[in-house]
């Protein structure tokens, strides 16, 4: 049903890697900033949030890809939201069953995965147009990229803000933790620093490519 303006993608390694690097949902597309800033004050929270989001992303994208020829385009967003909300509820119960402490630490952000634009964005831009196996691999890559981004923030913030990593003391005894790092502003600082690093890496690569082209043209 409906029009498929984009060609169906052929499965390749790039289908997975893209979400991790070139199109990283956090560092490149700047999507889903709310959980990225809010629950990355410790490594454990970051891992739990990343895994929960990845599960919802993969499960909903797969189902949407499976049903893509069957959902009329007028009601597609409503269908996507219902599917996403279902899997979020499943995750919500699962985390409560696994650990109440973890559930209390993540607070409302589990339910808020419903509104995570990484997931709806994947559903609309990819899963609704691509075949099942490419969707599965692509959403796994995106989920891994999202988790990686949460982890990069979570580890830095926990080490600087509490002097621990996964609850284990790793900084020297006389290290005075930077409380600001586990408060909301710390999230912005660390995110800004990572974005700066990624932008710098990208610029450097582009400059190199230009130089190489110039050299080959001259030669």
């Amino acid at each position: 049903m409906g029009t498929l303006p984009n060609r169906e993608e052929k499965l390749s390694l790039d289908t997975f890697i893209r979400g991790l690097w070139e199109e990283n949902p956090v560092f490149v597309m700047l999507l889903g900033m709310c959980p990225v800033l809010a629950v990355t004050n410790s490594t454990m929270n970051a891992i739990a949030m990343g895994v929960a989001t990845t599960f919802v992303l993969v499960a909903s994208s797969t189902l949407i890809s499976l049903l893509r020829s069957w959902i009329p385009k007028q009601v597609r967003i409503a269908s996507y939201i219902v599917i996403i909300a279902t899997f979020v509820t499943v995750v919500d119960y699962a985390i409560q069953a696994i650990s109440l402490d973890l559930y209390n630490a993540l607070g409302a952000f589990i339910q808020l995965i419903v509104a995570n634009c990484v997931i709806l964005g994947r559903a609309e831009a990819y899963a609704s147009k691509q075949r099942l196996h490419t969707t599965l691999i692509n959403s796994l890559g995106m989920g891994a990229g999202f988790t990686l981004a949460l982890l990069s923030l979570g580890t830095v913030r926990e080490v600087l803000g509490s002097g621990t990593l996964l609850g284990i003391q790793i900084m020297p005894e006389n290290f005075e933790p930077w409380v600001v790092m586990i408060l909301p502003p710390g999230g912005f600082f660390v995110l800004g620093a990572w974005l700066l690093l990624f932008a710098w890496l990208k610029q450097r690569r582009e400059r190199r490519l230009l130089e190489q082209e110039g050299a080959s043209n001259a030669g």
Binding site: Q74, V82, T86, G161, V179
Partner: protein, 228 residues
């Protein structure tokens, strides 16, 4: 093909197709949620029971089991009867069935939101034996120290909650004092930099104790019997 031709050849989606799709997806979702809910319900209930059990046994030292009781102005709630007993108390006993203390839940407004805590009251010494923060959103690194700062928790190893001469209220209100200024057994030494959170803990204890300590003392014998 021109746009006009395209529009006329593309059939409109009939309404019933949309209803069918949405209905089927909603049913599928409902089924999945119910399945997961049914499966996790006992596990979640068990987790919550363990969490309460653990909290009760931490705030009442030496206890090994607990009995949940409703207590009110006219004594304990009797099954089937209504005597206005509405305060839930967790009565904790040791292995020999000796009353070790009573755990009570309370709460007060903290820096950002309500601080909810469980504390253990020992009717023998008329004092508070321990607290455990159940829920809070205090500032990490400052206010959240009320949950684990050893010096602060030391306040509650034997915090005086003795009754006044008439036995209807505390002799001294439980109050938080500035860090390092604790002189009396009913005062709570605040954490420096976390005064509001410390005051919230003291307020929660005071509010609950003013009402519950007289009741517990009055019905002590009945509570002891509940362990049999």
């Amino acid at each position: 093909m021109s746009d006009q031709q395209l529009a006329s050849t593309t059939p409109q989606t009939p309404g019933f197709r949309m209803i069918r799709t949405l209905g089927a997806i909603a049913m599928l979702s409902g089924l999945l949620v119910v399945l997961v809910f049914q499966y996790t319900k006992p596990i979640i209930a068990e987790n919550q029971r363990i969490a309460i059990e653990k909290a009760v046994l931490t705030v009442v030292p030496g206890a090994s089991r607990r009995v949940d009781i409703l207590l009110g102005e006219n004594g304990m709630a009797v099954p089937g009867g209504d005597n206005g007993a509405n305060e839930k108390v967790y009565v904790a006993f040791d292995d020999e069935g000796q009353l070790k203390g009573v755990a009570l839940a309370s709460g007060a407004q903290g820096y950002q939101d309500i601080v909810k805590l469980l504390y253990g009251y020992d009717p023998e010494c008329s004092c508070i034996r321990g607290i455990k923060i159940l829920k809070m959103t205090e500032t990490p690194g400052l206010g959240d120290k009320i949950a684990f700062d050893p010096a602060f928790l030391n306040n509650f190893e034997a915090l005086d909650a003795g009754l006044n001469a008439t036995g209807d209220a505390l002799a001294h209100a439980i109050v938080a004092v500035k860090s390092g200024k604790k002189h009396n057994a009913w005062e709570v030494d605040s954490i420096s930099g976390a005064t509001i959170s410390s005051v919230a803990v003291a307020k929660a204890l005071d509010r609950s104790m003013q009402r519950m300590a007289p009741l517990i003392q009055r019905y002590k014998v009945e509570l002891m019997r509940a362990g049999r």
